[in-house]
């Protein structure tokens, strides 16, 4: 079945050596995705995130079907103009923020959401990179309380807000929250839920807001098999694996 993988990584990973770090086209083939949206590790971890993104994307023109998350740090000076300059030359399809890694409060998160709305781009909020139990000792920030994150994005007018790398139990909490908006989307695939989780979401009519992201190559691309065997109807599986991301990211 056709897939858009909305959570791929490229560039040098600071935790361990990964396959395909400078070969996003081969990673796309490896995960059998027709299109993929990539996060640059250098943009995530470098203080000058724009320079990190430039470094990781120097061969980008050779990757059809590959798009970029516009990773930015809205607590740094000049982040808006840096973003706009990057967007002029690269296929950026989102504003992606990682508040817990970059260690900023919730006001910059709201600023990023407003900016995403102005740019008519979805806002992707990254909760974590790795499981909380395995975070390296040098990595100080920890996920902020979920209620505070939701409070920061409640009522914002970004075209969509996408919750990325949230644990399934956190997604349950977000979806059940009074703050939950029909514009919110939930990326699934990199973290392991409980058996029959998708059936339970289907019973709550929550499947239409899911989109697939494997987390490869940091994670095994295990989510697509899980979704295909979830017992959902074929149209719903297709939505999760392809159509919802196509719509959300305007691919």
């Amino acid at each position: 079945m056709q897939q858009i993988d909305s959570n791929l990584y490229f560039g040098p990973c600071p935790i361990r050596a990964l396959a395909f770090e400078d070969k996003p086209d081969q990673l796309l083939k490896s995960v059998q995705a027709r299109k993929g949206i990539f996060t640059s590790f250098s943009a995530l971890f470098h203080k000058d995130w724009a320079a990190g993104l430039t470094r990781d994307t120097k061969d980008w023109k050779t990757c059809p079907g590959a798009y970029l998350h516009g990773v930015t740090n809205p607590s740094l000076a000049g982040w808006r103009s840096d973003f706009l300059r990057q967007r002029e030359k690269l296929p950026i399809v989102s504003v992606k923020v990682f508040p817990d890694l970059h260690g900023y409060g919730l006001r910059p998160l709201r600023e990023a959401a407003k900016f995403a709305h102005e740019q008519d781009l979805p806002l992707v909020i990254m909760r974590r990179l790795v499981d909380d139990r395995l975070v390296p000792a040098w990595w100080r920030p920890r996920p902020k309380p979920l209620a505070k994150v939701l409070a920061a994005v409640q009522g914002l007018e970004a075209p969509h807000v996408i919750f990325s790398n949230f644990q399934p139990r956190e997604l349950d909490e977000v979806m059940a929250s009074k703050a939950a908006s029909p514009h919110w989307r939930y990326e699934v695939g990199s973290f392991t839920p409980s058996s029959f989780w998708f059936s339970s979401l289907d019973q709550r009519n929550a499947v239409s807001s899911l989109l697939y992201g494997s987390g490869a190559p940091l994670y095994y691309p295990a989510g697509s098999l899980m979704i295909e065997r979830s017992g959902l109807s074929i149209p719903k599986i297709k939505d999760i694996l392809f159509d919802n991301a196509k719509l959300c990211y305007a691919l």
């Binding site: 499981d131 139990r133 058996s195 029959f196 994670y219 095994y220």
Partner: protein, 246 residues
């Protein structure tokens, strides 16, 4: 599916506490064999009664679901005499090994009486092990505890569950201990774990587990998508467990 699967690490708790849901899981996945570690009643330091309740539920599923479902006997070795008696009882009822969780460290001397009997019967012990960034539970083993135990009992068969969580540490810790197997059961989905395990341990010491009811297909797909030979995948998914438990 080109591979048979033996899931050696499943708990009959949460949705699997319902026999109908568990039956649905067996039917939909078609898993060939499955080993239950029980619902681990009684929290971190269960009483003998709670241990027996936990094992009773495992035995019940073994009876309901036939030879496809096997069980490991859960004990709390803090109650050393009860642990030995309970293991002997459960072994006589068909359980195929021992399960240790977090009540005391696995290399605590109070574990010796039950372990000696397990190993005398040539049965394996599956030990929960982790190393967490924010600190472990009071009696929660790390790979280092497993290593000490394995050296004390070089003929004993030991399964270090979860590759001890921090798998890059766990795999290397047990690299040279031929009597330690590993599973990668649970929700950690980091790529490279199986590949490193095969490289460091060889393809014969790795078992497949899900920590069910964690999603079976997500766990299975890790192996299917790993950069390993078909032979290695076959061994991980079924062959190694078949050899170890037979």
């Amino acid at each position: 599916m080109p591979y048979k699967v033996w899931d050696i690490h499943v708990h009959n708790w949460d949705c699997f506490a319902n026999p109908a849901t568990f039956a649905r899981h067996l039917k939909e996945t078609g898993v060939e064999r499955l080993t239950l570690l029980g619902p681990l009643e009684g929290g971190l330091n269960p009483s003998p009664v709670q241990i027996e309740q936990s094992n009773a539920r495992t035995l019940d599923y073994m009876r309901r679901f036939g030879p496809r479902v096997s069980g490991l006997c859960y004990v709390n070795p803090a109650h050393s005499e009860h642990a030995l008696a309970e293991w002997q009882r459960c072994a006589s009822l068909g359980m195929i090994g021992l399960k240790l969780w977090v009540s005391i460290f696995c290399d605590d001397r109070r574990v010796d009486p039950v372990l000696q009997d397990v190993f005398a019967k040539d049965r394996p012990v599956l030990i929960h092990a982790w190393r967490k960034r924010d600190g472990n539970l009071p009696g929660e083993c790390t790979a280092d505890h497993v290593v000490r135990l394995a050296k004390r009992y070089p003929a004993g068969k030991i399964i270090m569950a979860h590759m001890a969580g921090d798998w890059e540490y766990g795999i290397k810790a047990v690299r040279d201990l031929a009597n330690v197997w590993v599973d990668f059961a649970g929700t950690i989905n980091e790529a490279g774990a199986y590949e490193m395990a095969v490289k460091e341990l060889g393809e014969n010491r790795i078992l497949f587990g899900t920590d069910g009811p964690a999603d079976y297909y997500h766990c299975l797909a890790r192996v299917l998508n790993a950069s390993l030979t078909s032979r290695a995948k076959r061994k991980i998914l079924f062959g190694n467990a078949d050899q170890l438990f037979s």
